[in-house]
Symmetry: C2
Subunit: 447 residues, 2 copies
């Protein structure tokens, strides 16, 4: 049994601030102590009340920092890392012009390993500790990703991409090979170490009826694996899906008929959803990955977060960077762009709401709320150390490193999310072990 202790200001969420009051959802300890046992949370409380329980234990102290649960990115493509910020196209053209040629390189496992390693370094550097990840159609790219994630003891979810049409030959499988390869990968990787598997049809456009049907069959055989796909991102895409599936009532219905809409289903985007589709997602306990930098960059539109977070028909929502359609690995920048999307809709998004989406909200979207997402006892201790004064401008905007109250924290956290990027991530811990440290800083001495 290994005990560890960390002292600093702690922020996490114990309920959803879209529905519960700030007092009932935000937990803030300006001088807190987090005690871990074998990499899991043993307890979090005020330093004064807990100090006696860790007599003899060395304490890692971060006196001018804010400690939060690690960020959870609910939608990202590891093979698109190198093609981030590709110019001048909306979704369908962007896929054929940039994405498919790039993904073709991942047939080479060594290349896939190199990019997986770089990708995971970027995630940790940006404070993201868990992600739901698209790979490519090649099983070896899935292996490469999981091997790298396993080496780092990360809780990651990924799966082989299924595509059997409307893509280059070198990137397509068949309904049967997709089924068989996915099944083998599930047996190999699902629940191996901290890894989890997601059945991953790219989207309705590139999967035949039969491929979707077999994906649904597989999901029924392995009900605790995830289903991860794209949904209603772009107007032309929605139109094309309607043409390709004339018998369906709509885009979501294509997946529903195949048995792919359930409580482990995560749909990226949902920018163009109808009211009835929101309703259906709510009933099915499915989740949406809201990807604002991508939705703006590809000109897809403004996601209706208010509708998803309605009282009448709540839908689970997480934030996603959607690299490489998204323009940054930073969940802080993603939260910043989420705010802009809500402002353009005449709505609003507090820092606590945004940071909830990036942590416990993401955990709920990924059905991991009993495993991680906040500092409740027994949860896995993936956490990050944030510097609210990471740049001269942030230091001027946030003159007090430790907010004395929740009200002041709300303002500081908002400025940090609007202006912060990887520079604001001082350190990232995985299961209580230091996994990344910003070289600009030196860790401060223990108290």
């Amino acid at each position: 049994m290994t005990l560890k202790a960390f002292r600093g200001a702690f922020l996490d969420f114990v309920d959803d601030p879209f529905y519960a009051s700030e007092a009932d959802s935000v937990r803030y300890l300006p001088d807190g102590l987090l005690i871990l046992e074998d990499g899991n949370v043993k307890t979090l409380g005020a330093y004064e009340s807990l100090r006696e329980r860790c007599a003899g234990l060395s304490i890692t102290a971060y006196p001018d920092r804010l400690i939060m649960p690690g960020f959870i990115d609910t939608h990202i493509h590891f093979p698109q890392t190198e093609m981030i910020a590709a110019y001048g196209a909306q979704l369908l053209e962007w896929l054929s012009k940039y994405t498919f040629p790039t993904e073709g390189k991942f047939k080479d496992k060594a290349y896939a390993q190199e990019i997986a390693s770089f990708f995971l370094d970027e995630l940790l550097k940006h404070g993201t500790t868990t992600a739901l990840v698209f790979t490519t159609v090649y099983p070896q790219s899935v292996d490469a990703f999981f091997e790298e994630a396993s080496r780092r003891h990360l809780r990651m979810i990924a799966g082989k991409v299924l595509m059997d049409r409307r893509a280059p030959d070198f990137l397509t499988d068949t309904p049967e090979t997709a089924y068989t390869a996915s099944k083998q990968l599930i047996e190999k990787w699902h629940k191996h170490d901290r890894l989890l598997y997601a059945i991953t049809p790219r989207f309705a456009v590139t999967s035949s009826d039969e491929q979707l049907r077999l994906a649904g069959k597989l999901l029924a055989e392995f009900p605790d694996v995830y289903m991860h796909t794209h949904l209603s991102e772009n107007v032309n895409e929605v139109r094309l899906v309607a043409e390709l599936f004339p018998e369906s009532k709509g885009y979501l219905d294509v997946y529903d008929r195949a048995g792919l809409v359930g409580d482990k289903s995560v749909f990226a985007h949902g920018v163009q959803l109808t009211d009835a589709e929101f309703q259906r997602l709510s009933e099915a306990h499915s989740a949406i990955a809201f990807c604002p930098t991508s939705n703006l960059f590809l000109g897809s539109g403004l996601f209706n977060l208010k509708k998803a977070k309605s009282v009448e028909a709540p839908v689970k929502v997480g934030l996603g960077t959607d690299v490489g359609g998204g323009t940054s690995f930073s969940m802080l920048q993603t939260a910043s762009e989420a705010y802009k999307v809500t402002q353009l809709r005449g709505e609003n998004l507090s820092a606590f709401q945004a940071l909830f989406l990036a942590t416990l909200g993401g955990a709920r979207a990924l059905s991991l709320e009993n495993t991680l997402g906040n500092f409740e006892p027994g949860k896995e201790a993936d956490f990050i150390v944030i510097d609210p004064k990471a740049t001269p401008l942030m230091a001027r905007r946030n003159p007090t490193a430790i907010a004395p109250s929740v009200a002041e924290l709300a303002d500081q956290a908002f400025a940090t999310m609007m202006m912060g990027d990887d520079r604001a991530i001082h350190a990232t811990y995985i299961m209580g072990e230091l996994a990344y440290e910003n070289k600009v800083y030196k860790q401060m001495g223990g108290a």
Copy 2:
């Protein structure tokens, strides 16, 4: 006579890429040499063709960098530096809740000096060498700004804010004091060193008819000073202006009746402009400062850049950060958000178009195209050294530091504008003198 020479890859614009072809507008020298004489451009050309002209001259070489004219920010508020990223409001509420209390602090000249110094450091760090700047209603805040800008030998344009109503008492002047104080400041600062003056009514909401009329009188008396104000940013603002000026045909007409719409007039935003107003701005040779991060952050809307850059009725356009309504000092991030605005409108913006807006386009918007904005002989040599590989992700996206062709440069420049921030600014030169250098780098030895 002092000669200096710089070697590297050079990019500037010799015409407007919204109208002229790439071949006619983009000048790219993968291995170029820039020769300066007393801080002004003497010549720019291929290194091989010019090397003999600088025998005996020591050359400052930047072998893996892109050298461009300094960025021009056509709309920014120096007193709002510390209140950047203020939460949860659209324009009119944001002004009364955050802006006015902050601007009140600038009655204290020492405070204004401190912020002016910090502000100018931030501009240089982000590669911005010229800006059109809002100060506050207090003449001492104008003095503080110009004194700091003069100390740094910067070409800056600013002026006292005029507000005689709908603002706190401590922030209002009168039509007469506004006129008199502005006149004194023009005589003191306009064309002092590199400084220029702008008559600066905040916007129609906070200036009475009489104040606008006297501002127009002053502009007529000093026709070579600028007029800088806000225009048609937000729907509620436009509605309020219509109520306050029932005799006017529209928002722009309020300024027009006061004689404030001319070829030295720069209007920030213009998100809500009518077709007739675009037409009038074109006829008057006035300019618009397009401020995308601000327009998204305050939820103002999506500026119609395509309309402004039409062939039929072209309007001069520059980019503005609009700090503190804008969320970044970086003109690269501003260009990135400009791209997102055009994508959401189903339009497009190439890197060359965006970088034109940030350099020569800004110079034209500020009637400074004969003074700076590119490397034409005789122009002031304010320039920046860009690192297209400033972060590990940028280095992976831009594996070749020096693009071998304009086509490859288009892609590299786009990735740099989408992902770059102050880290991509290696150095900033003012009149040929090093004014800022990123401490992460060491300047490379001269060839």
